[in-house]
Amino acid sequence: MRASAARIAALVRKEFTHLFRDPRSLALVLLLPVVELLLFAWAISFDVREVPTIIWDADGSAASRAYVQQYAAGGFFTVKGSADSYDDIDKAFERGQARVAVVVPAGFQRAQDAGLRADVQVLVDGGEPTSARMGEAYALALNQRYNATSFASWVARTPGASVDAPTTGVLEPRVRTWYNPDRLSSVFLIPGLVVVIIMIVTVQQTAVTIVRERDQHTAEQMLVSPLSHTELVVGKLLPWTVLAFVDMAIVVGLGMGLFELPMRGSWAVLAAGSVLFVFASLAIGLIISSVTPSPETANIAAIMVAFLPSFLLSGFAFPIASMPPVLQAVTYAFPAREMVTISRGVFLKGAGLADVWTELLQLTAYAVVAVGVAVRLYGRRARR
């Protein structure tokens, strides 16, 4: 037992020595996640706002200007310029300079004064469908508000105006956002980002460990020693587990410090889930290295099997509920999904053991199976 621990300790020490003797690699392993975090958390927002808009005001009157002003005031639309023709608008859309165009016809003011509706055109670039939909919605809401106020003031100004319109009240949305009141995208993203970062570390690891042994023929020397396959796998997993945890700590620290990520749940649950998840991911990385014949293939396989699915299918940034049912089922095959649920639950929803025990159980199963397969596979590669 003691000798076993000594062997594992020697493997861990050696792995760290390799890493520290290659400072460039080390910097990349530690820095990459931090940079990605800052990038993601700061740059990305799902809130669509400041949609570039151009205005073609063919009327040029006080009324039309007041109308146009509504768009600028909302915060959703950002008026970038003006147009004089449909050609102008087409060009702006094609070049991607604007996504919305508002066309106010000549005679706008006259219509208002006469108590009539004027036909306004709102053109929306479908090339950015999400902002297009939201643009549609906000334009309509904006118009409806404008109509309500102008109707009220028209009634007030115009003596003897026919008040056919029923005097009903107006509905107004009151939005309540739970768990993330300021709807900061960063708060939404960071718990999931922790998971993605561990996957990145996994991918890095696969390029390194088993390939190194293979390339340097040291694997044979290990074969003629009492080193067991389990000891070897554990000895390889431990240092990278430490690295993954360091990365995680950096990300969480920065998240809480710079981005005001709250921590409402149990640290213990988070830690437990993280350990299991890290082990499972790294073991998957080892499996990939064992199975692929060359490091280039291992690299691509790691990206495809470990990184991309966890990036896209874990629910980290893209809602699982919006995926087709087939893909939703597929997401269960990747431990990243469970980890994102746990992470987000713990940070934002105050989750404790009772809330996420199914996910923890699944992660445990993953970790056990993955490490088991890694041990078995590496054993098979030896003694050809």
Partner: protein, 366 residues
């Protein structure tokens, strides 16, 4: 440059590629997986949000309001609980994405001509759904509020120009073609020179009459061919499977892709030349690839980014490639409209390649 030696070098690269069949199979399988993942996951249009409606008013007016939500494509009413305490577990278990709460006394307020508030409860921990859901709800409410056509005001007719179906796939697939090309080219090229340097075959090569230029071209051409085949593959399958319409000019697309490919080849070469081990090359590649995918507007719209970052997005070749691809596919834009991004891509290609050549002269003589 000697044609025969060049052909020999290219042949050698192909031979080496053939010896690793798993690699080739992965190279072809990877785009398919990415097509599926990006096409179905990232491009998923957020509609049919699972919604709960809580009607605390129980009047004809509140029922009409609830009905207008039910009638909308954007919402899928899955629960009608009696009170708000039922909401938390529903939200926590992700059974609903948002909830509409019609408070008691709504009809009364409306009849008195007052403003009545309708509660929209969203799960902020799912930011994208939350913001989109909120805007949809606003739209339904605006529809309910629409006054009859009497009195002044504006009658806004909203028309969608380009991509009338508003399917996100139609804009995602063109972008994906460029992305997949970038990933594969970078992955392969960044390993290319490093592999030979580690093995020592690099030195051997330069004791032969092969010039550095020939070496460069010989390395690059096979991968360009491979990547071109891959791009065609993706384009065909993507457009056919997802039924993506194409309105533009094939020449524009080909030019854009070719220029973009060159920038990526150059970038991969740069990484390859600067790294001393394969491991470093691979790490650098990820270092370059991730921010590119995030900041180029491929997934996350550039408009939503902080103003401080926006200028930097122009420094990423992929940003311009996306404008070209999306412009050509979705908007039928031609060379004149896309002149700026195309020129930008050309500029990048020249600059990056030039840098790679300069570096190569210096590095390979070490």
């Amino acid at each position: 440059m000697n044609g025969k030696r060049l052909r020999l070098l290219i042949w050698k690269e192909f031979l080496q590629l053939r010896r690793d069949p798993l690699f080739l199979r992965l190279a072809m399988a990877m785009p398919i997986i990415q097509l599926v993942l990006f096409g179905y996951v990232v491009a998923a249009d957020v509609t049919n949000l699972k919604t709960a409606v809580i009607d605390l008013d129980r009047t004809p007016a509140s029922r009409t309001i609830a009905a207008s939500f039910a009638a909308s494509d954007y919402f899928n009413i899955v629960a009608r609980p009696d009170g708000e305490d039922a909401l938390r577990p529903l939200l926590d278990r992700n059974e609903i994405a948002l909830a509409i709460v019609i408070p008691a006394g709504t009809q009364a307020s409306l009849e008195r001509g007052e403003v009545a508030g309708i509660g929209i409860v969203v799960d902020g921990s799912d930011s994208s759904t939350a913001s989109v859901g909120t805007s949809y709800a606003s739209r339904v409410i605006a529809g309910y509020n629409a006054l009859p056509d009497a009195g002044p005001g504006a009658k806004a007719s909203v028309r969608v120009v380009f991509n009338q179906s508003l399917r996100t796939v139609n804009t995602m697939i063109p972008g994906l073609i460029a992305t997949i090309m970038m990933i594969s080219v970078l992955a392969i090229m960044s390993q290319a020179v490093v592999k030979e340097r580690e093995r020592g075959t690099l030195e051997q090569m330069f004791t032969t009459p092969i010039s550095r230029g020939e070496y460069l071209v010989g390395k690059v051409v096979p991968y360009m061919v491979l990547s071109g085949v891959q791009a065609l593959f993706v384009a065909t399958i993507g457009t056919l499977w997802f039924r993506v319409p194409f309105y533009g000019s094939v020449w524009v697309v080909l030019t854009g892709l070719l220029l973009f490919m060159l920038t990526n080849v150059g970038m991969g070469l740069l990484i390859s030349l600067v790294s001393r081990t394969r491991q470093q090359a691979q790490q650098m590649m990820m270092f370059v690839m991730l921010p590119t995918m995030i900041l180029s507007g491929f997934i996350f719209p550039i408009e939503s980014m902080p103003d401080a970052i926006k200028p930097f997005t122009a420094a990423i070749p992929m940003t311009h490639a996306l404008v070209v691809m999306r412009g050509a596919f979705v908007k039928g834009a031609g060379f004149d409209a896309l002149a700026t991004p195309l020129l930008a891509l050309a500029g990048f290609a020249v600059a990056i390649f030039g840098l790679a050549v300069v570096l190569m002269r210096r590095r390979l003589s070490e």
